[in-house]
Amino acid sequence: MTTRHRTRPHTTVRASQRRRRRWLTAGRYLVLSLASLVSLGPLVYLLLVSSRENAYSLTSPADLLTGRHSLANYRQAWIAGDLAQSFLNSIVLAVGTTGLVVLLGSMMAYGFARFRFPGRGLLFALIVVELMVPSIMLIIPQFILARDLHLLDSRWGLLLVYVGTNLAFNTFLLRGFFAGVPVELEESMRIDGAGPWRRYWQLMLPLAKPALATCAIFSFLGAWDEYVWTMTIISSPDKRTLPLTIALFSGAHQTNWGLTFAASAIALIPVLVVFFCCQRQFVGGITAGALKS
């Protein structure tokens, strides 16, 4: 580089640098366009099929560009597939899971972050250990447990396990956040006579809003997309959640992909809404956090 600077007049160096930068930008656009195309292509394809009338007669992807597109499949899936009930189950379970996980998880996190008590190390170690255990490994004993508690084919059985499986991670995450809050803030509240519950409720929770939002989003999505446990214990059609309904739908209407994908698109909509509304917490939260490491 240095030799080039000396041998060439200043202007050509600048021009070559500019040219190089232009090529670099073009390369970046190429990489990103390809990545976006591949990322979104399958989902756009899903939407095309879901809106194609008579999608069962499709013999070639080229046919998608011809023929009529409408919301007929959506209407039919919603009615014939009884999606409304599954949608309701999914919403109620996801919201319930989110609320309970955020509440119980933040309480545990506060207890671990701010107090010392006998058994603290052991209890927290259990949480960390369970973080590493694959969730499906526990599905067999969880099934026996649900049977013994008469929670098979029950939405309470779903809620219990959704909450239980999401707690470890969220407690771990929030404990880290709470531990980083300066103790002085809490001390001054304590001197003013605030008990631990008030300090948790009026100081820690408001301070932890961004972290709580992250927890809420991931708990919601975890419950919304949960499939394996639901498939294992639910047998009544009216207790199914969307992922289970869609999976069964694709099995039952093997040839009618239009219906299956219309149902899938309906399940994706709330996720995309949450994603676009809470982008800051999603991408920004992750980014800001990772910067600290």
């Binding site: 591949v38 399958p42 991931f218 939260g285």
Partner: protein, 322 residues
């Protein structure tokens, strides 16, 4: 989803003074600590759903477990484990998840890093690109598994259409789900497709935290783009590399829904992975003890892998400092 969720753990890993150390100095640990009230409700649920089943899984793996109350379960020692070790399908399942790991972990890392590098500096439409590549991460595994099964259909599938009618790479379409390796290609393709956005976001954060002065210094020393990448970028983000590798390896062993919905482990158990196989043993053949033994071995394997990677990571870090 677990993988997505873990993105936020990276941040908390920074060293911190012991929690509440000041307070702790004053108040002695006591059985009457109010902490129990905060911890009890959540921990009760957590113990019931996670801790108790973990213990139970281990005990069940040592039994010929019986589902009916009238016929008691027999203790059979390590028989289930020995059965698994001499079960060719179990080994094939392990090999399949090994293949999945070897393909998807580097695949997600290389592509994610490429996207992150392309996104690092200012660019028109940068956040739009970031969102588009991230969207597969938030889609449901069930939906995209069915979608990819459709894309890889033999007749009328988009992939075969592109291979034969658009690019003319082959005369007739590939029968993807009829053979072990072609089916694994489809399953791996889905794994990479769904994971690149996650690695991209983590890499992007790591890249943006590398001080510009390092690059400036490298430029002064005459380092070109490739040399800068090799000697500045990679060493600076090695902790992130380790973190991502561990998370992806764990994720690879956890592959379940995609295999279950795309091939169901078939044809003839050719594409089983450990989790689909243990699920089948438990819920199709009702052999709960055998399923639990497989589950336990898999967990041990994951723990071992993570430990080794941590070791290697530490060593790499030490060498870099030395």
């Amino acid at each position: 989803m677990t993988l997505t969720a873990t993105t936020v753990t990276a941040p908390t890993a920074r060293p911190r003074p012991p929690a509440g150390s000041r307070r702790a100095g004053r108040s002695r640990p006591s059985w009457r600590s109010p902490a129990y009230l905060f911890i009890l409700p959540g921990f009760a649920v957590f113990s019931l759903v996670m801790v108790y089943p973990t213990v139970q899984a281990f005990l069940m793996s040592l039994q010929d477990f019986s589902l009916v109350a009238t016929k008691p379960s027999q203790w059979i020692g390590l028989t289930n484990y020995l059965d698994a070790l001499s079960d060719p399908v179990f080994w094939r399942a392990l090999a399949n998840s090994g293949v999945y790991m070897v393909v998807t972990v580097p695949g997600q890392m290389v592509l994610g890093l490429a996207c992150a590098i392309a996104l690092k500096n200012r660019l028109k439409g940068r956040s739009a690109f970031r969102i588009m590549v991230y969207i597969p991460v938030i889609t449901s595994w069930v939906v995209v598994s069915i979608l990819f099964k459709f894309l890889f259909q033999t007749e009328g599938g988009l992939v075969n259409f592109i291979l034969t009618d658009v690019t003319h790479l082959g005369d007739s379409g590939v029968d993807w789900f009829n053979g072990r390796w072609t089916a694994l290609v489809a399953i791996c393709a889905l794994g990479v497709w769904k994971g690149v956005g996650w690695t991209m976001i983590i890499f992007l954060a790591a890249l943006q935290s590398v001080p510009d002065q390092l690059y400036e210094a490298a430029q002064v020393d005459g380092a070109g783009g490739l040399a800068q990448f090799w000697h500045v970028t990679l060493p600076s983000i090695r902790r992130t590399l380790l973190f991502i590798t561990i998370m992806l390896v764990i994720g690879a062993f956890n592959v379940f829904i995609s295999v279950s919905l795309m091939t169901g482990g078939g044809p003839a158990n050719q594409t089983q992975v450990p989790l689909t196989y243990l699920y089948r043993q438990a819920f199709n053949f009702l052999d709960f003890g055998y399923g639990s033994a497989i589950a336990f071995m898999l967990t041990a394997l994951i723990a071992l892998f993570s430990a080794v990677q941590f070791r290697l990571g530490d060593k790499a870090a030490e060498e870099a400092i030395a």
